[in-house]
């Protein structure tokens, strides 16, 4: 059975291997340049007050080819689980249905449970290994950027791995996504029994989950921390009074906790109640003094950057449990078919 799985998976394995090698070469070629840029800005030896050096470093990376490679890596780690679900997952069982070979495959001495278990296990392991390797390589490549952000200790560098765009593409979360997307594809193939519709539906469902998960589910996996801080331009990148007299805030960060993922930010008065209209004394010049006088402060709910790995493990665990559930659904459905 193991040999059969390998024999039927050969082409995909070769393609995956070639892709990993290609990415490795691309990263190896550009990695030393990024590291050299890191050193030449004095960040390797900097102990304190590294903010300007880090900003210079990031500015030099912005707009260069290196930035393209960084975003390319992020995009790749979003795309790979979807592609795995599409090309490895969906055709796995639906191809047997379309060609009629399921009658041969499922009436052998190898029981169906074992057939499915070995297929899912081996190819699932290959999916996780590929994605894990890619995640490792891109993390190694981008480590100067993350170290610079850490040394700077400021939020303005906006390289926070906990915030949604970067979170799903770093660490071990992509491995969980790959396993889930793979088994989602297999399930779609088992239920729909035709390859192309199964691919389309697996892609649509996986894309929907990826879009809604960071906003709807992830913030509540660990109850967010709350704090009330001063409402000034050090804490919020932009503050403005709208024409209706309300507040408009953006790019708010948590003072003293760089890299946090800010979920909500709301002006509150001294008693902690939300303030929706700005005090009358507000003008462009005395924004902060006026607010201070009226005791208006900023209540933020956030996830601190230190929870990054907790979230990674939680999310990977949830997706692996969903994977196991879908695998069970596949098995139950295949057993019942005649």
């Amino acid at each position: 059975m193991i040999w059969l799985t390998w024999r039927q998976f050969r082409a995909q394995a070769v393609v995956a291997g070639a892709a990993v090698v290609a990415v490795a070469i691309a990263l190896l070629v550009t990695g030393p340049h990024l590291a050299a840029l890191f050193d030449s800005n004095g960040l390797a030896t900097c102990r304190a007050g590294c903010g300007t050096d880090a900003s210079n470093f990031i500015n030099q990376v912005k707009g260069s080819k290196t930035e393209l490679v960084f975003y390319g890596g992020i995009f790749l780690l979003y795309a790979i689980p979807a592609l795995i679900g599409l090309f490895w997952g969906a055709p796995l069982v639906s191809r047997e249905f379309e060609a009629g070979t399921f009658r041969l495959a499922w009436n052998q001495s190898v029981p169906r449970a074992r057939w499915l278990a070995i297929k899912l296990g081996l190819i699932g392991a290959a999916a996780m290994a590929t994605t894990g390797l890619l995640s490792l390589m891109t993390s190694w490549w981008a480590s100067p950027l993350y170290r610079a952000a850490q040394k700077a200790g400021q939020n303005s560098l906006s390289i926070s791995r906990l915030t949604p765009p970067l979170f799903s593409a770093t660490g071990i979360a992509p491995v969980g996504y790959a396993a889930f997307a793979f088994v989602l594809g297999v399930t779609a193939g088992v239920l729909i029994r035709r390859t192309l519709p199964a691919m389309a539906i697996a892609l649509a469902v996986f894309a929907a989950i990826q879009i809604f998960w960071p906003g709807v589910v992830r913030p509540h996996l660990i109850p967010p921390a709350r704090s009330v801080q001063a409402m000034n331009t050090a804490n919020c990148g932009g503050m403005m009074v709208t024409r209706g007299g309300g507040f408009a805030l953006w790019s708010c960060s948590v003072s003293g906790l760089p890299g946090s993922w800010v979920l909500t930010s709301q002006p509150v008065n001294a008693a902690g109640q939300p303030v929706t209209t700005s005090p009358a004394c507000v003008s462009a010049q005395n924004f902060e003094q006026c607010l201070g006088k009226h005791g208006v402060r900023l209540a933020v709910s956030y996830q601190p950057a230190s929870r990054y790995w907790a979230f990674q493990w939680l999310e990977t665990g949830i997706f692996l449990i969903l994977t196991a559930g879908l695998g069970g659904l596949c098995y139950w459905r295949i057993r019942r078919l005649n």
Binding site: N41, G42, Q60, L83, R243
Partner: protein
């Protein structure tokens, strides 16, 4: 033949229609809010020096759902051609070859040329219509944003329509892209003869073309403009002292450049002899006690110049037409390749 094409293409049409309706609903739901934001910001009636209001508007929109939807729609206009190539293009002929039904399809009274021509034509038309509609809806929805960027007239708003990544995701380029992806899919199906490998090959080649276009082709479709200006350290974007390892201290200087909406290809600071200025760092810039103004003054005394290579924003539509033309020519070539190959097959 037309009825047959429709009958075999029915499901894909319904899916495309449903997707368009979903997108239209999403846009219709958020469009009025964006328009009211625009009206409330006072930019509708602003005639001159609107940049402060425009800045405030863009800042208000940043980080909100509207920015998400904007970038989501751009992403969609990149993704839809790829999906069309994979799901409409690759299976078109490959499925016939894989299941053996080509023996029936290609030995009828309808000639093979007519068979492939009608299929390519009708589904190609559906491709163009779907992507065109999507691009039109996105353009209608985002028009307040573009108007604001225009009124602001500053570089800092970063809605540069002529630069990647926006350029390939708005206007008529996605339509050309989709036609090319579709033809690429069909050609891959004809040459590879099995559906899933054809899908994979289409995806890889299309992704490669999408990556190469902005890097190698787009900057040179029309030769970029080169402009020189005196380098002013006081308004420079970047004045940095760096040191590679234990080597000499060098400087990196990047001047400020304000042509609104332009796509800056290269921004170099050159000496009077035309070489790129790398240092050595002036003593005023190295000393920790001297104020930053002394560093700026010392740099200004060097009489450096700023050499910028860029594509101006006014070239947006010529570049769009040229790139779409290239894609359509490629699509036509691939279609001809398919037709020739199908006519050649013995079976």
């Amino acid at each position: 033949m037309i009825w047959l094409s429709w009958r075999q293409f029915r499901v894909q049409t319904i899916v495309a229609g449903a997707a368009l309706v979903v997108v239209a609903i999403a846009f219709a739901g958020t469009g009025p809010h964006l328009v009211s934001l625009f009206d409330n910001s006072g930019l509708a009636t602003c005639r001159a020096s609107c940049s402060a209001d425009a800045h405030a508007f863009i800042d208000e929109v940043s980080g909100s759902t509207i920015q998400l939807i904007f970038y989501g729609s751009i992403f969609l206009l990149y993704a839809v051609p790829a999906l069309i190539g994979i799901f409409w293009g690759a299976p078109l002929v490959a499925r016939e070859l894989e299941t053996g039904t080509f023996r029936v399809a290609w030995n009828q009274s309808v000639t093979r040329t007519r068979w492939i021509a009608v299929k390519l034509g009708l589904i190609g038309l559906a491709t163009v219509a779907t992507t065109g509609l999507l691009s039109l809806m996105t353009f209608w929805w985002a028009s307040p944003l573009y108007e604001v960027a225009q009124k602001a007239g500053q570089n800092g708003l970063s809605i540069r329509k002529v630069a990647p990544p926006l350029f390939g995701g708005i206007g008529i380029v996605p339509v050309g892209c989709a036609a090319f992806a579709f033809a690429l899919g069909v050609a891959a199906g004809v040459l590879v003869r099995r559906t899933i490998p054809a899908m994979a090959v289409t995806l890889v080649i299309f992704a490669a073309v999408q990556a190469v276009m902005p890097l190698l082709v787009q900057p040179h479709l029309i030769p970029p403009v080169q402009a020189t200006a005196p380098f002013n350290a006081n308004t420079a974007d970047e004045v940095v002292v760096t040191q590679a390892g234990s080597g000499p201290l060098t400087m990196i200087l990047k001047g400020d450049f304000s042509r609104p909406g332009a796509w800056i290809l290269e921004n170099q600071t050159i000496t009077q002899s035309g070489q790129v200025f790398t240092g050595p760092a002036t003593s005023a810039c190295l000393s920790i006690s001297a104020p930053p103004q002394a560093c700026n003054n010392s740099l200004n005394r060097l009489h450096l110049r700023q050499l910028v290579t860029y594509q101006p924003a006014s070239r947006f539509w010529p570049l769009q037409w040229m790139e779409t033309g290239i894609y359509f020519v490629l699509a036509a070539g691939l279609g001809a390749l398919c037709t020739w190959r199908i006519r050649q097959r013995r079976a």
